[in-house]
């Protein structure tokens, strides 16, 4: 503790769990948008990972509420948010937006995989056949016409899903941005920053996974896909970081009463996590690397390695950004006169081990899905770039 904090502020209410929640939702929204870039905007280069991104969005979505549930003082009452919502509260929208988005995602995945499942249904027998029939909800017929229809539905859902994904994550930013009591959070820019950082994290996680999986399994990589991902990553990270900097710049330039304490926060408690790590290492670093990839003629191996490194750094950048927002806003006292401190424990209920599990399990789930419906069949299909 440093300076004066209100006596009740010595306990940080929102822990690392609430850092993970916007992080995971960001991955959901970002991954979904990548799949929509293919389905809706016709970016053929992203076709090899369109399905992969869609299912990634889904597994992350499954895990987004988990840190929230683990954080609630009364998780047994979690459904109260749907049963007795207070619509004046920004948070009450969570259940509805989440449910709407989940429905869109499940439907899109169902229509996207329907033809494949029908093929398996036809080849299967016994219990497996019955399971496939249930999964298909009895719709076991397919021909060219139904394939076309399925594709059309997928495209429509992908289109409708874009604004919903943006709302889902913009809304998370709004949860923080609308808290007028907290000068580190209260800015209308917050939800825009959250949307762009979500897209960055989504592209970064897919880039990371695509490169990792193709390296690990020695698969033929579609270089056009990697190049497109790298280009988008570069573009979106620039917008995201500039927005983040503009927010601090406007606070600094306005020189309001709160700025004196915010400056202390940035140059003191958040110096390492915000300035050194988030801005200098994980924003400037990938910016330089991705600029080099885009502007210089580098050997393929090197440029892919730089893209891989950038994706790791940007995944860390977004996680750090969530930390600096969520924790930074709470270690700053509402007395504007001091700071408290927070470091999560290792084994406690809301500690680092549980946090790591919540982040890692979606990836394992993705791997399980891949075992049943391979995302990257061998040999990898080459798409014309």
């Amino acid at each position: 503790m440093e300076g004066f904090v209100f006596p009740n502020e010595q306990h940080v209410t929102w822990t690392v769990m609430i850092v993970l929640y916007p992080y995971i939702t960001g991955l959901v929204a970002g991954a979904f948008i990548v799949s929509s870039l293919h389905h809706v905007f016709g970016l053929k280069q992203l076709a090899p990972i369109a399905r992969f991104s869609l299912v990634s969005a889904f597994v992350f979505l499954l895990f987004a509420p988990l840190p929230l549930l683990n954080h609630l003082g009364r998780p047994d009452r979690a459904l109260n948010i749907l049963i007795t919502p207070n619509f004046r509260s920004a948070m009450s929208g969570f259940g509805f937006i989440y449910a709407l988005y989940a429905i869109i995602l499940v439907l899109e995945i169902w229509f996207d995989f329907r033809a494949d499942i029908v093929r398996r249904y036809e080849a299967a027998s016994g219990l497996a056949r019955r399971v496939y029939r249930v999964v298909l909800l009895g719709a076991t017929y397919r021909d060219e016409r139904t394939d076309r229809l399925d594709k059309k539905v997928v495209k429509t859902l992908a289109g409708v899903g874009i604004p919903v994904a943006l709302i889902l994550h913009g809304y998370v930013g709004f949860l923080f941005g609308s808290i007028k009591a907290n000068p580190w959070w209260s800015t209308p820019l917050m939800f825009i920053i959250f949307i762009f950082s979500a897209i960055v994290s989504g592209i970064a996680v897919l880039t990371f996974l695509y490169l990792f999986v193709t390296w690990n399994r020695r698969l033929t990589r579609n270089q056009a896909t990697v190049d497109t991902l790298a280009r988008f990553l570069w573009g979106f990270m620039m917008v995201a970081v500039v927005l983040e900097l503009m927010e601090v710049l406007s606070l600094a330039y306005e020189q309001t009463e709160e700025w004196s304490v915010l400056r202390e926060l940035i140059t003191g408690r958040l110096w390492v996590s915000y300035v050194v790590l988030q801005l200098l290492t994980c924003s400037l670093g990938p910016f330089l690397l991705l600029s080099a990839v885009a502007l210089l003629k580098l050997p393929l191996r090197i440029s892919n390695l730089l893209v891989f490194l950038s994706s790791v750094l940007l995944l860390t950048q977004v996680l750090l950004m969530r930390w600096n927002v969520v924790i930074g806003g709470q270690i700053l006292s509402k007395s504007y006169r001091g700071f408290t401190s927070y470091l999560p424990g290792l084994f406690e209920r809301e500690g680092l081990v549980v946090a790591a599990v919540i982040v890692i399990v979606p990836f394992l789930l993705l791997r399980e899905f891949d075992k049943r419906f391979p995302f990257f069949p061998v040999p990898a299909r080459e798409e014309p770039s």
């Binding site: 300076g3 004066f4 904090v5 209100f6 006596p7 009740n8 502020e9 010595q10 306990h11 209410t13 929102w14 929230l68 954080h71 609630l72 003082g73 009364r74 998780p75 009452r77 979690a78 109260n80 948010i81 007795t84 919502p85 207070n86 004046r88 509260s89 920004a90 948070m91 009450s92 969570f94 949860l175 808290i179 007028k180 009591a181 907290n182 806003g329 709470q330 006292s333 509402k334 007395s335 504007y336 006169r337």
Partner: protein, 259 residues
Amino acid sequence: MRPTNEDDLSRRRFLRITLAGVGGVPAATLFLSTQSKDLFPPPPTDLDDLGRFEWGFLVDTTRCIGCGSCVRACQKENGVPDGYYRTWVERYEVDKDGEVHVDSPDGAIASFQTDLLPRETRNKAFFVPKLCNHCRSSACTQVCPVGATFDTPDGVVLIDKDRCVGCGYCVQACPYGCRYIDERTGTADKCTLCYHRLHRGMTTACAEACPREARICGDLRAPKSRLRQVLRERRYGLLKPDLGTRPKCYYVGLDPEVV
């Protein structure tokens, strides 16, 4: 930090000295309690009748001596968990360079045992008791996702602990640091303005315990209430009025340093 045995001893000594030194305190308390009966309106007869009242609170910072009786009374009356505070007292000391130093050790539950600044470097010093402002447009009521925090018809902000999910959004939204999550129940908690006492014709535990009448709870709708009387006569301020929460806790002698 929790008070140690030594602190307890010194607190006891402090109380003894205070009680012995100010012989008039029991008499004053008696006087005030008889007064509050007159000044408190008759209890409501049914739920609709609650609309007759609008409870407010007044803190006279010029009268507070930082004894912490209010904090202790509140802990005792409401069973507030250790390390959390429904009310607390802040000490402000301004040094000769104009720099402001503030503290509130354990919410001042054991008063203030040591000086914040050496006497010779101190220019100005005062105490500011804090509690829930029971805002008319409270941010906590607005953000509660399940409607567990609500405004009573008589203007008190309360928490329905059978509905609260313990998300902590209200803790973040309160600009005054008045809320916390009670780890024993997993739900939000804060000052209730001793709602259980108000309609029995009793004032809040903190106001009752205050030896200096620095805290006054009263009905803003009753022109003759002590609260309205002081508000008519004295200049007062509100905490963070720019946030639009429209607090109903009025601070007499509020310094701009206090937020």
